[in-house]
């Protein structure tokens, strides 16, 4: 017996319009599944803004610092190179030549850090079994996951969802 029931919608706009009225009836919407990103859906069902771009910024700063430390250590401290009789024994003098490497390292760390964070936070990793309430959700259906703890109220909740644009109401699975 599932804690949730799933309302299937044919149209993302119909689903979106009915979120507010359903909520005012006390319906608790856990999540909405859709075949493509629906603009404003995350906000409508009360998801907070993602902080993943802040993570990317922090990873970028880490990458930048690592590259600064690396170039300074290798080229200035550990083995200063005298190239064509033009030694650069001070970091700030040699810095312009290091900019490309520092830039690339910044992008490298920011991009890969962000993507890894995204995969971990969204639990999208190879071998993970997907939570798919209905296989049509990746094709053309939009599915609202609604809390239904009290089994006695299931019929009432179903008719309420049907009245608010749902095509069918079902349990988890195909």
């Amino acid at each position: 017996m599932s804690k949730y029931i799933f309302a299937v919608y044919n149209d993302e706009d119909v689903l979106m319009q009915n979120i507010k009225p359903l909520r005012s009836h006390g319906v608790r919407i856990k999540e909405v599944y859709s075949p493509f990103p629906v603009h404003g859906m995350d906000h409508a069902i009360g998801h907070k803004r993602t902080r993943i771009s802040i993570c990317a910024f922090i990873y970028g700063i880490i990458g930048c610092c690592l590259a600064l430390i690396m170039t300074n250590y290798m080229m200035i401290t550990d083995w200063p190179m005298d190239i064509g009789g033009k030694p650069s024994f001070a970091f700030y003098k040699n810095l312009p030549a290091f900019v490309p490497v520092i830039f690339e390292s910044t992008i490298f760390c920011a991009a890969h850090g962000m993507v890894i964070t995204f995969y971990l936070r969204s639990k999208t990793l190879p071998g993970v079994t997907a939570f798919v309430p209905d296989t049509r959700v990746t094709d053309d259906k939009f599915i609202m996951q609604v809390e239904c703890n009290d089994h006695a109220k299931r019929a009432e909740l179903t008719s309420l969802l049907m009245k608010h644009g749902a095509e069918e109401v079902k349990d988890y699975g195909k």
Binding site: P35, M74, W79, I83, P100, P126, T135
Partner: protein, 466 residues
């Protein structure tokens, strides 16, 4: 989202979301047709030739090539720059056009990004073979070693290149793969056979399509696009610095970075055209990759081709205007010397031919576009050949003058790299969704033929009411 009804639709044939899924999954779920097999056999044959020529190079050393003490970069670096340049269009389409919210990118970004990945792999094979001892590629990285440690020289553009190309490759790869995840999930959920369910289940990383995941997905796409844009510009800028920071006449030019980037986008879009015109035909995707898409890409070819043309002329003018006799000689020699035919091919293919795209009927003609896209790629190959070989064969001292002819091994590696590229691309077209269907479905309500018709009818009824 509102879109003016007079704007041409991006999806033809009244496609619903379900039909989009059907059309794009069909090539993966069905059997490959005989065109695919013929192309695949030819590509694998070329790939085997590549294996032979690379084995000879690795076994005997790069003395098997035609390069010599005078012209020490030949087809190897020409091919490297050509391939890495081709890669740039994929990132431009998926990242820059995303930042500019250009919806026409949606039908072409997936295959263009795949092209980027495979082109950069081809470019990397030239980097690996030209170092002569390809079993020591880690010498390019700043790793502790038993020589001191003797570190790599961070003042050298060749080291910048290592960082740029590897960052570019890996970031493009994760950008492409992240976009593929929702589409793999589509194939997974439709899978009829156990094998398909298993493999696409693994490839789709357990994607669910929840709005929280979509929210993160969109943010990640946007931020990756924001980072890929300066990244892609930096890559060809750094490639151009491999030449521009030297003192050789013909290479020592401040114009190189923008000129190389424009040339890269120019050649890359030409390659996208070549590939997509075949793909839309073989996989019957004419409703998604329309003449409008081809027209849009031709406009970019026209703009970047003109930038490249201006760069050639500017270079020539400055060589004379600077009063540096070495520089002047270098350019006169390019146009009239031993390699004049390469220069002539470059000027014809890159400067004159794209100007034909001012004519709309040519821009929207598929056959003409296909032929011209190949002409442009030949021209861009010659551009790199001219820059590298014609500058090297006449350096400052007449004692450093010589000529260069490629050996059959070098030519074989180039032809083989085309085999490597097309083998990868054909496998991609067979097993991966070639159009980003999850993203494309976001515009069925605004840019499809039925949406346009509805908007027009709505407009008319609105007018009659008043």
């Amino acid at each position: 989202m509102y879109e003016a009804p007079i704007r041409e639709p991006l999806i033809l044939g009244d496609k619903t979301n379900h039909e989009i899924t059907e059309d794009i999954c069909k090539p993966i779920e069905g059997k490959a047709n005989k065109y695919w097999w013929w192309c695949f056999i030819a590509s694998v044959a070329a790939l085997l030739w590549w294996v032979l020529c690379v084995s000879i190079t690795v076994g005997e050393g790069i003395g098997m090539w035609g390069i010599n003490n005078i012209v020490d970069w030949g087809w190897d670096i020409t091919n490297f720059v050509w391939w890495v340049g081709i890669g740039h269009a994929g990132t431009l389409i998926s990242a820059v056009l995303l930042l500019f919210r250009q919806k026409w990118r949606l039908s072409i970004n997936r295959s263009a990004e795949a092209m980027t990945i495979f082109a950069v792999i081809c470019a990397a094979t030239f980097l690996l073979t030209h170092i002569g001892r390809p079993w020591l590629p880690y010498w390019l990285l700043p790793l502790p070693n038993q020589f001191g440690s003797l570190w790599v020289n961070f003042n050298s553009p060749l080291v910048w290149d290592t960082f740029a190309v590897s960052t570019y490759f890996t970031v493009s790869l994760v950008f492409w793969y992240t976009g593929l995840i929702p589409d793999f999930a589509v194939v997974r959920d439709r899978a009829k056979t156990k094998a398909m369910k298993f493999w696409y289940g693994i490839l789709s990383f357990g994607w669910t399509g929840s709005s929280k995941n979509w929210q993160r997905f969109e943010e990640v796409s946007l931020v990756l696009a924001g980072m890929s844009t300066p990244l892609v510009l930096s890559v060809h800028t750094i490639v151009s610095m491999d030449f521009a920071t030297s003192i050789l006449p013909g290479w020592h030019a401040t114009i190189f970075p923008p000129y190389f980037v424009a040339g890269a986008i120019f050649s890359g879009f030409a390659m996208v055209q070549t590939l997509l015109i075949i793909v839309r035909k073989v996989l019957s995707l004419e409703n998604y990759i329309t003449t409008l898409h081809i027209d849009m890409m031709n406009r970019i070819i026209l703009v970047t081709g003109s930038i490249v043309g201006i760069a050639y002329i500017t270079e020539f003018f400055i060589a004379w205007y600077s009063g540096v006799e070495y520089e002047s000689y270098c350019f006169i020699n390019r146009a009239t010397g031993y390699y004049w035919w390469a220069y002539a091919s470059m000027m014809t293919c890159n400067v004159i031919s794209p100007q034909l795209f001012w004519v709309k009927s040519l821009r929207t003609n598929v056959t003409f576009t296909f032929i011209l896209s190949i002409v442009v790629n030949i021209g861009m190959w010659f551009e790199r050949f001219v820059i590298i070989v014609s500058s090297l064969h006449r350096a400052y001292l007449p004692s450093e003058w010589g000529t260069y002819h490629p050996s059959w091994v070098e030519v074989g590696i180039f032809i083989g790299s085309l085999g490597l590229f097309f083998t990868c691309f054909l496998l991609f077209a067979r097993f991966f969704p070639v159009i980003a269907m999850s993203e494309l479905k976001t515009i069925t309500k605004s840019s499809s033929t039925q949406a346009k018709r509805a908007a027009l009818e709505h407009g008319h009824s609105h007018a009659t009411h008043h």
